[in-house]
């Protein structure tokens, strides 16, 4: 049986009907990982023993008729989520030997729904990057073309789901780290409203922007897993005080009569022809489904990139101060005094991109520059938020490309940070404002997939998934998977 071709609901049916056991399913995936992941490098750790133990427990519950909602479904966790007793590295030398003594709420929630952890996925160091080339554990390859990047920072999660080395994976998104790799690997990726998914135990990059989410092969799979990991968490003060949203009930509802906004500022940007064509085709699909299109203006949207590259580094410069070689993590050899301990530990333990962002963040917060950079950026952030508020009075969702193009060659942008930053130009605004966004495959170019982005109003993940599912019921782009 090609178990790796099954959707999550098909897998649940199969498990319920005893067509196969969770142990068989888990072994099937573990086998695929050991066969293919040497080429992809999508996993940092494969937790085989733990997975088989969890699968066995799931099988017992099926046997006892006490199955949990997602019982026995394997998944991979981005290595940014702390998992008790398991290596949690965040893709950094700093945490290369860090065994988390506690688990993140996301892990706990999915574990309590019966999901089986296959392993921890590779990522850009501390989630800083758009190509998964900044990982201390080596770059991740794009399964569609091994010379290309899978996107980042959740490149490992994207590559392993796309290569069918996991049915689904958790991921995080600070400026596009779920949606951009989804686009580059031909997946469905959703970043919910800020505060939907608990950040407790999710290693911080930029606290006011970070949000956990899912990379999957369909909107339906994404809905099942996102619903299971969402909901209020008293351990995260910025967690929304709502029950997990119902993402499944309405997913099949038609979108007829609903309004899709097309921000003219996005479409004025220079875009490759294949990109324009794909988006145009998607618009046609939605038109045929009865959706209405409205041109909207997000006047200040072009400020998003500079705003982001002030706020994210500012927050990260403080968030990453705890890596000082004192209580855990990497420590330099023979420090001669306390400053030497701090300075060499951090010089040696962090990679170039992380250090760059810490330095920028330190600079924009420093005396004399705070008002001109940090405060100004926070004010501009309000302008962007106001644009979206206005837009959502007129439309249900906003459609745009997810990325400027398809996946690029490894190494192509590593020496030019600014060029790399442009990868997230369409995805960053949703993070600044805390809005939900998703990417679904909508085309291809020279054998590489391409995605479109849908941004929803606050708390409207269900509507986003409804739009995505309608599209996927009527197109096949999401069914294309790479040949390994």
């Amino acid at each position: 049986m090609d178990l790796h071709k099954f959707s999550i609901s098909q897998l649940l049916d199969g498990l319920k009907n005893k067509q196969f056991s969770s142990t068989e399913l888990t072994k099937h995936y573990l086998k695929r990982i050991s066969k293919h992941d040497d080429d992809l490098n999508s996993y940092i750790s494969v937790t085989e023993d733990l997975a088989l133990k969890q699968a066995d427990a799931a099988d017992k519950r099926y046997h006892d008729d006490k199955a949990l909602p997602l019982d026995g479904i394997p998944l991979a966790h981005k290595d940014i989520f702390c998992t008790k007793g398991v290596l949690t590295t965040c893709g950094s030398k700093m945490l290369a030997n860090f065994e988390a003594p506690y688990s993140s709420t996301v892990y706990e929630r999915l574990n309590s729904k019966g999901m089986v952890m296959l392993g921890k996925t590779n990522m850009d160091e501390f989630a800083m990057g758009s190509s998964n080339e900044t990982s201390y554990f080596g770059p991740v390859k794009n399964p569609w073309n091994l010379r290309n990047v899978p996107g980042g920072s959740s490149g490992g999660s994207a590559a392993c789901v796309s290569a069918e080395l996991a049915p689904v994976a958790t991921a995080t998104d600070t400026g596009g780290s779920i949606r951009q790799p989804a686009s580059l690997c031909g997946l469905t990726g959703i970043k919910p409203t800020y505060g939907r998914v608990s950040r407790f135990g999710m290693i911080a990059f930029a606290s006011s922007l970070d949000q956990g989410g899912v990379l999957s092969r369909s909107a339906e799979d994404a809905a099942l897993v996102l619903e299971a990991m969402s909901g209020h968490d008293p351990k995260d003060s910025t967690s929304l005080n709502y029950e997990a949203p119902d993402l499944i009930s309405d997913i099949n509802k038609p979108i007829k009569g609903m309004k899709i906004g097309l921000p003219k500022e996005f479409f004025e940007k220079e875009m490759p022809e294949y990109s324009q064509k794909s988006i145009q085709q998607a618009i046609e699909v939605y038109k045929n489904l009865g959706a209405e299109f409205v041109e909207i203006s997000l006047r200040n949207i072009n400020l998003s990139l500079p705003i982001y590259y002030i706020i994210a580094p500012a927050e990260c410069s403080a968030n990453l101060s705890r890596y000082d070689g004192v209580r855990y993590g990497y420590r330099c050899n023979d420090p001669k005094d306390i400053d030497d301990l701090f300075m060499r530990t951090r010089e040696e333990g962090f990679g170039a991109e992380v250090k760059r962002r810490i330095l920028i963040g330190t600079y924009v917060l420093s005396a004399g520059y705070y008002d001109a950079y940090y405060l100004k950026a926070q004010k501009c952030r309000r302008l962007v938020a106001n644009d979206f508020l206005e837009a959502f009075e007129k439309v249900d969702v906003i459609l745009s490309p997810t990325t400027p193009g398809t996946s690029f060659k490894a190494g192509e942008k590593t020496n030019n940070p600014l060029e790399m930053y442009l990868q997230d130009i369409f995805t960053i605004p949703a993070n600044l404002v805390g809005l939900p966004g998703l990417s679904i495959p909508c085309g291809e170019h020279e054998g590489l997939p391409l995605g479109m982005q849908l941004i929803g109003n606050s708390l409207e993940e269900a509507k986003l998934l409804q739009f995505a599912h309608s599209y996927q019921l009527n197109t096949d782009w999401h069914k294309n998977m790479p040949n390994l």
Partner: protein, 98 residues
Amino acid sequence: MALTDKELKEIAYLARINVNQNIFPSLKKELQDILALFDELNNADTSDIEAMSHPLDLSQPTREDQVTEVNEREKLQKNAPLVKSGLFLVPKVIDGED
């Protein structure tokens, strides 16, 4: 905006990241390129705009004043680079350092 060597040295120290002298020129160039990106914000009129430091406009929740944590020193110090008698060891700190 031009970033001086002294400024770079100072922010590197504030961030406690040792920066090797020989990468100063290239690093300075990279940082300057990024800083140049920020100039675009100067075109935005933000005169009556309130800063937005967080996407959520909600009030901070609180918890009751209860001790909920137990001693887990052994488990928590398993990852520590250097520990003695339950203390994290660091190069001698001089009292009275500013």
